[in-house]
Symmetry: D3
Subunit: 319 residues, 6 copies
């Protein structure tokens, strides 16, 4: 799929905007004169824009649904200082968009997914223990998993809620974990592998369909259980994989939430599992707070109350 | 292995007792005259008995360890009204006792393991849904798993702490679950399969070695995670196994503790999962209380305080 | 009171509908032309219907209140595909409707109250212990209590929220309790009596007035305390009632919520009290989830989030 | 029963001590020469003393049990600086000691039970509301209840663990409650009645037999439920007792622990119930801490750790 | 600042109302004819009143903000039975209103601030221990602190939410604390000083700006930490202040919330700290419930649900 | 004070050992012949050794107490394979040992206190923000604080329980914090200052007297409150110290336990406070687990149960 005009480009009156967008909201209303019109919210990776259909509403209404990628023919106009599209034609752009193409319609990691991939391959390339090296060789050939691991968000609503978020979060843990082992001691291979694998189940827990949402098995089983099954599946292929390494990697996956109340069937029981757990908490919480700060400041210093974290947060003045 | 004389048979002075026992406690002490002697506690399925070694203590000390099965040559005597063995010879009885032979040395389900097996095959034979029927066909051929499932306890210290306890507990759930579906509605195949599989991971979580104890992977991963991997491993072999049935059976395993605080990564989310969870709680708690009542009554009505359950319990007078 | 036309019968335009309904909502509004009209929601056991009063609004406004049973003279019409009543006359239908007459205006147990009553009398008739048999003889003559016990809901908003719900819930526990004792042992008379009595205090905790709501003493004392006082009141009449049976029945009432956090001043301390507690939980939760499923599915598989149960629930596909 | 010599009087060698004591501990031991002797701990209201029986041990062993009141014939001696009794004769002093006679054998309130009774009658005499006045008229004629209310401890091991403790605690609440109403407003009759009745169920929850212990119904039902039944029983006798006063007094009883976790089926919902709850907490905790300070100081400033209160406590230096 | 006409005086049509008010709400709207008008809510200590600006909306819009004190020129009129101001001129009344002047615009303690001050000086004057007497001598000269202590509310939204509330709450504790020491014993100077100082940090935690709100340091540090720093700052000035008194007063401040979950870094560890804690709870909760009762009754007996206290509350009928 | 012979040097029979040790345990016993002797446990930084006094026990008993530093004259002997001292002379070695001299008698950080000091000065030297630089200039001249900060343990019983532990823990946080800011962004000066100051109150919370123990003010106020007062005291000396930096540093101190339940009166509300909190948790827990592993392994893989951490821990096999 090709896309040239992005929301951020629509800065003038009367531009011709014929391109693909994702439908985020869709509603049919009536004017005072009882003529129907349609209100849309359209999105791509650079932002959202309102769209209006004034003619043939019933016809177009059948040609696409909410959450579809649509081809739009339209002209821009400004209303109350904000750009808007007057749409002449709109229809679904085709089934089953490839995940890579999805990137055009969602925000993504500011760290840069390509850079993150490079860092990922550096980490997997530097593992000394041969069986863990094999594990990632196999994983790196599982293109179905890997593509999702590179492009999925790390959560659907709390932290790293953007494409590449899962990778960014995993790399951040691997970096900080390497340094923590450097400072405090521990098995660096286990910490790196644990950091990269701890959330791997999220590629089956989450699905991208209009927005980020949970799959059925995601809701029923969760990323911890799904990650266990995925890792077990790979380890099975590696002859002579040491059971104690298998056990500790699986243990890191199931214990990374730290306590039972947060969905971990076991608390972390090894030094390396403790490291992954605390760094996961640190990275998720700090990133989640920053995402909250981006959109929910009440004044220049304080955010609105964060329901999940049960607090307001304070933005230190610069300098 | 053959065993003729059990602890419960040792009721007289001066019986010749040459047979196999398990060593539960072992200690070397000195008399006032500084001669060494050895104190033992020996066990088989019928009870425990004290043993004394007065001669060649150092020699025998090297021939066996605590938790070994030993061959003993001895004579009985009575001390303070209780039988005791004066041991003339003792040595380890051989490595790697088969699990079936273990039954001679541990208490077992009063319900009768053979009867419970019959009931088990009846339940697996009456499943209507063909894929679940296949699942149990495969499981019933996995003799390594099945033998342990038939003979293991359901826990190492809280409830059903005897051989066959895991089977007894699972059958009890299947029976009550069948009736509950009869009363309240629901999918009886799912409830029966869930009842029989919910604790299947315990055959890898527990190991029997002298006593019931946790394996390394048992401590690191727990029976919920181990059960998930075992079930996934079987389902993989069945072509066309419906994903939603796989998901719900796995979900029953991971949710059967009911809440996150008790180690379930997900709360029960379907009617059938709720049924297995509550019946599991009921069967485990009632049986655990009864086992506590057997050994910890403070008077004819009240038990001692139960640390885990945080209560005393009251035994209703008969009649 | 007599009632012929029920909401479910109103399926055509222009039917004459002169009958009794309960007023669920009542509001006076103004049209654009500043003429007043009244909007009503009317209910009987088969459903709810909207009503409109276009004339003499002020007059009718004084003739009835929200939550009253009213006599209505009206004609049906359809608006946006749904039936509606245009009301010509409406006034309160009389004070103090008998509880039995209330059944015309509320949904009720699908199990059938008459069938449930039969089952109730079977259970109370099969008690072997003579004092418990006496207890129910007395209760069965307390028509004031019994009528409410047969017709009240089991809760005002969580589970079994319909007439006959309290009876249905109690019978369900008695049935499952009988089977559980059959499987696990225990005193069947105590379990049946406990199942039937555990929520008896709800007949004083709840009152029916327009809808199901708490009485003052219900809010201040709760059904556990009210049940204790009601049971004590009956036991007092029975000469020689064994104190330990009185104590255990009262204990089942106060412990049936299972833990202090849920309002039980004591945890269940006997096998029979544990059974009633777990079966109560099971029956209430499963029924509550099913009621939630009836009205709150987000798609064909998943319910909306349930605030009290803190979860979504999954409806297993049939077949 | 008459008693002249109390433990505190035994201050010299070779006193003749022929009087009644309570047996707190009783054990038969053997000397190195294998002659049996008996070790006793004897108690009265002034303290405990050790007793030794050197002759006819088997005979005397059958004449009394632990927790009995015994008649002793003995002589005092000093061993390692502490008095001891050498006992020549000992036997049970008679069945069913009256509660008033029990006072000779237990520590009691330093406030003085007679003074506390006076204060009690002052409080009950000053109630303005006639039905509450009637309530206490009836209660004050229930000698069975009242004697226990005057003499029982307020708990068996946490606070006010001495005879008269229940009365002392109740009076303290009534006094402070009166002042709190004076400062903050509220219904003083309700607060006084609530203060005096809130723990009334303890006279059935506790029994005195050798020491303070729970009765069966105490363990199964607890003083909250027992208090409800006792109060209901009295109110029933008073024609025209206003239901809202009955409800609020019962509500104060069931809510006085403040939250469900502490065994209150309802939280306090009225101003008066809040007052009784907080003053109960204050009086119980401060008194409990002081009793802990009396016997468990680790140095002049700090107590040992208090398991229930989960803290050490600090004794402010005087002056 | 001078103010003659208060909201409660505006009881007639067409009064000339030229005086100062606080702006509580401010919004610009359009009529159907697209002419702008402004809607205001104005407040002084006697209540709130609506204001309308029909002319020169844009001009006036720039002359004041929400939360400002404004000078208003206006005439009253009645709309739907309630008074309203038609405003001809409005502008900010000056910067930095003195705290004493703020009293004209906020509700204040019904106990009367002047009376409360007298009581405060009585309490501080009766302290026997000379160092604590010095402490309050210094504090009573810190006019910056003292003025706020006399005029601030005790919280911004739960209890004593009015001017003088902090003083009223502190005096109430000192009174009840004196009586509690009278009844139960303890160090009365410590209890009085602790009662008066426990919430002293609130004068830095809260700021008054339009309404009561938290300062930055209030949110980041809280009144417990701020109170510790303020008290330490004063104690530092007193030569020979006994360390154990300093420690216990600071301890009362940090422990007065009672448990860690409520933000106290230490639980109360002395009798006096326990007294301040429980009386603080009692006074805050009872007063909070009464403030809730003033504005949130659902009927004559029951309040609406209180989110923080997680309950409805019951108002005892008078008499 | 000078000390030449350390416990680890006492490896042979009959060595002359005349040197200083700390008395850890002290008890007087009797032999079978009723002659008194004294049993001691003596300690220095290299370990503990038993000591025996056979003569003049009563005399020596008056010359020293438990927890004193003593001068000993003795000879070594071996008993059951372990060295022991037969003591001929022993007496207190002088009052008020300097803290630096204490190092001879306690274990200390394996990281090396001198190296840690260097790292400390590097961190304080690299702060860019001038007021924070001033803050540490002042602190670094407060030799009373600094010496304790360099030599104290980080806790009395959980983690870093050795001299220099507080410094080691603080430096570890500063190092990891620097790297975390490098990876995730944030204000590095605040994180370093917060890392170094977060536990500063421990130098007043803990005292060293025989062993590590809490001071009175440590128990009453805790290191969070004490740290606040110490930091405030220094900041007061720095003209123009920016209030928002003061607030955030104080906030880091009070929030570093993360949640109220763990004694933090405020949750971390800024990114930097979150970082210090999570790294504190990580460093304390991992170090605490390793200290537990040093002394409490049950076999080569598993530790004993850790009561505070509520888990066993698993030691990954090397290689």
């Amino acid at each position: 799929m090709k896309k040239d005009i992005f929301v951020k480009h629509i800065t003038k009156e009367n531009m011709e905007v014929n391109d693909a967008f994702m439908v985020v909201k869709k509603g049919v209303l009536s004017t005072k004169n009882s003529t129907k019109y349609m209100n849309l919210e359209l999105r791509d990776k650079t932002g959202t824009i309102e769209g209006k259909i004034w003619d043939n509403v019933d016809t177009f209404n059948n040609l696409f649904d909410k959450n579809d990628i649509v081809s739009v023919k339209s002209r821009s106009r400004f209303y109350q200082g904000r750009p808007q599209l007057t749409i002449n034609d709109i229809r679904k752009a085709g089934e089953n968009l490839a995940l890579a193409d999805m990137r055009m319609f969602f925000a993504e990691s500011e760290a840069g997914i390509d850079l993150l991939k490079e860092e990922y391959y550096q980490f997997t390339g530097q593992l000394q223990e041969p069986h863990m090296a094999s594990l990632f060789s196999i994983l790196n050939n599982r293109k179905d998993i890997l593509e999702k691991f590179f492009l999925y968000p790390a959560s659907i609503g709390v932290h790293h809620v953007y494409m590449g978020g899962l990778l960014e979060h995993s790399i951040s843990l691997a970096k900080m974990g390497t340094h923590v082992v450097h400072t405090m001691g521990g098995n660096v291979d286990i910490v790196i592998a644990g950091a990269l694998l701890h959330d791997i189940g999220k590629v089956e827990e989450i699905e991208i369909k209009g927005g980020f949402r949970y799959s059925d098995k995601g809701r029923l089983l969760g990323h911890i259980t799904l990650g266990v099954m995925m890792l077990e599946d790979i380890i099975r292929e590696i002859p002579g994989f040491p059971p104690h390494i298998a056990d500790i990697l699986l243990h890191i996956i199931i214990s990374h939430h730290g306590i039972e109340e947060w969905g971990s069937p076991k608390k972390p029981m090894s030094v390396e599992a403790l490291m992954v757990h605390y760094l996961d908490n640190l990275d998720a919480k700090v990133t989640g707070v920053r995402e909250h700060m981006k959109e929910n400041m009440e004044d220049e210093k304080w955010t609105a109350y964060h329901r999940l974290y049960e607090s307001r947060f304070y933005k230190l003045p610069e300098g």
